[in-house]
């Protein structure tokens, strides 16, 4: 059984020191008309490189671009689709952060790539970092997408045709399936689809699974063309225990779970087992308190024998943007300590 250290998604865009304020200051200067969009792109690139470097330095083997360019998990994708207008702010689950809410003026349709360029940039940036681990450990980029059900659930609707949740989830799913295909053709080997909304509103299970199907088909098409592509589903910001057995049956390559809401989830997973690799969100991505590596390691040891698929991903319970920068870095380093303590 291989235990891979993986980031779950976002990374803080700013820190307290002046060199970590680059993006924040540039955005403010662009807003004031004192800098250009080219300056903004440079700042985003610089902070993305830093985020990738910090993850690699901490020993993360499946890292992300930190979602540094994302205004929020919803409008970054929805805002690039035709038929969508971006509206005011709404609280994002229980995070005390806010997202800009999409309004469907028509059917949301993909006009072009959403994050393919971001993925390519991250791969190039990673390629330029001397990890000191070449030849021993493979470090790869994971691309994150917010899932069609969550996008649909958090959208407002003006177009009556998009009023049924099924219709808008289906439309978002078609757009995201095309993105999965494009990412696969660009060499992406691991895509994480985030669906935090489904464990909040379990009554929509049918809509959720239907919306996931086009993404699965896109993955299969990419694989048929001879490429390796894995699609993971991550659900966080709530306790997934009541829906675990249903989640475990989804035809994805890995299932990421947030273990920080309810201690009973460990018992549930240990009892039921998992037919596929799991993302073990055992380190709280939203609290600065550092967990005891040995305590978490004991939990990992309990779960690993129950997981089929020869691997599991050890990571934070959610993206790390909810922590201060130094807190996020400390959580990533903790992951390495936990793995060292497993069976040790």
């Amino acid at each position: 059984m291989k235990l891979i250290i993986a980031n779950t998604g976002s990374y803080p865009r700013a820190g307290d020191s002046p060199e970590l304020q680059t993006l924040r200051k540039t955005i403010a200067a662009v807003d004031r008309g004192e800098m250009t969009s080219a300056d903004l792109a440079d700042a985003e690139n610089e902070m993305t490189r830093r985020a990738i470097e910090e993850q690699a330095r901490a020993g993360v083997e499946l890292l992300t671009d930190g979602q540094i360019r994302w205004h929020d998990p919803i409008s970054h994708l929805a805002g690039k689709l035709a038929g969508v207008k971006i509206n005011g702010l709404l609280r994002f689950f229980d995070t005390n952060t806010y997202f800009r809410q999409p309004v469907l003026m028509g059917k949301p349709e993909r006009k072009g790539p959403l994050v393919v360029e971001e993925y390519r940039f991250a791969c190039n940036a990673l390629g330029q970092i001397p990890t000191g681990r070449e030849g021993t450990v493979r470090v790869a980029v994971k691309q994150v997408l917010t899932g069609p059900y969550t996008l649909a659930k958090l959208s407002l609707v003006e177009d009556p045709a998009m009023q049924p949740l099924e219709a808008r989830a289906e439309a978002y799913a078609a757009a995201l399936a095309d993105e999965v295909k494009a990412l696969g053709e660009s060499g992406a080997e691991f895509i994480q689809v985030d669906e935090p909304a489904i464990i909040q509103v379990p009554n929509d299970w049918g809509v959720f699974t239907q919306a996931l199907e086009p993404l699965i088909r896109a993955r299969d098409a990419v694989r048929k063309a001879g490429r390796k592509l894995q699609l993971a589903l991550y659900a966080y910001f709530h306790n997934p225990a009541p829906f675990y057995e249903k989640l475990a049956q989804l035809p994805v390559d890995a299932l990421g779970l947030d273990f920080t809401y309810d201690a009973t989830l460990v018992d549930v997973v240990a009892a039921a087992g998992s037919p596929r690799p799991l993302g073990l969100g055992l380190v709280d991505g939203r609290n600065t308190k550092l967990e005891s590596p040995t305590e978490v390691a004991r939990v990992v040891e309990r779960l690993l024998p129950k997981i089929k698929g020869e691997r599991a991903y050890l990571g934070p319970s959610s993206g790390l943007e909810y922590l201060p920068r130094d807190g996020a870095a400390a959580k990533l380093e903790l992951l390495g300590k936990i793995r060292a303590a497993v069976n040790g």
Binding site: P12, R13, A14, G15, D16, R24, I27, A28, D31, H71, D72, G88, L89, L90, R91, F93, D94, N96, T97, Y98, F99, R100, N287, T288, K289, E321, Y322, L323, P324, R325, D326, G327
Partner: protein, 332 residues
Amino acid sequence: MTMSREKLKKLGLELPLFPTTSVGSFPKPDYLVKARADFNKGRINREQLSELERKATAFWIEKQEELGVDVLVDGEQYRGDMVAYFAEIIPGFSKGGLVRSYGNRYYHKPIITGAVSWPGPITVEWWKYAQGLTKKPVKGMLTGPYTVMDWSFNEHYSDRRTTSLALADVIRKEVEALIAAGCKIIQIDEPALSVRPEELPIAIEAMHRVTDGMNAYFITHACYGAFEHIYPGMLEVPVDNFDLEMSNSDLNMLNLFRSQPFTKDISFGVVDVHTHVLEDAEKVNERVRQALTILPKERIWVDPDCGLKTRTVEEALAKLRACVEAARAFRN
């Protein structure tokens, strides 16, 4: 007469029908924004900053009186974030690093690193100052224990309930101090109330610790949440009045109140604070009319959806005026 009207009367408060108030914060005048930045850079001292905070507080008291608001607030000219303000004063908290709120807005999210305790009066001097400027009642303004817990990192307490209750004990002492100073209406904001519906019992238990046996009229403010998941259970929060953001959600909450009766007084948000657009009188009046379809007039207070600090001074005044005019129209 409703129970809460009787309570107000016993407290010596004779309020008109449709009492007008505001949720708490007002925008800071430009000179105060600059002074806060200067203070942070060490260019002016605490007393110089406080002088300007008092000046801005007096400005807002005067403006509320001019407009004819019934229950006043001090405008929170001396506060930044509603949780960080208390965390900077209450022992047990440390200042955290920068965390993003949204877009390009960041704040220092507090960290609970030790046992919290009441350091002595936190808001009482400001309340006394503001109340000394007017004969109308000024609300005491606090942030609730559940919200302070939810909006802080916690490295000390074992779980969220224990944290909330420890904070409740601190906030109760502040309530006692406000009442001892003469404050009769105290608002304890819980905007995080709906974020984890399964934790509503914790928020209720913590509020009991704060308000039980206390002789004051209590209001709590909640906003921008999924109230459908906590209604009608939220009515168990032991306060007299729920101050709710109604307009931003197109009065959707009225449907909930139709399904199960709303049993408390309401401070009914009749203007949206997140838009520069000023609603016309007809729109504001229609919102009050809608409130009257499900709530008796004795239970309705009129105010903006939320704190007005994100608006300009002129916009805030115009939105407050719209509240006052709507209330007057319905009294007549």
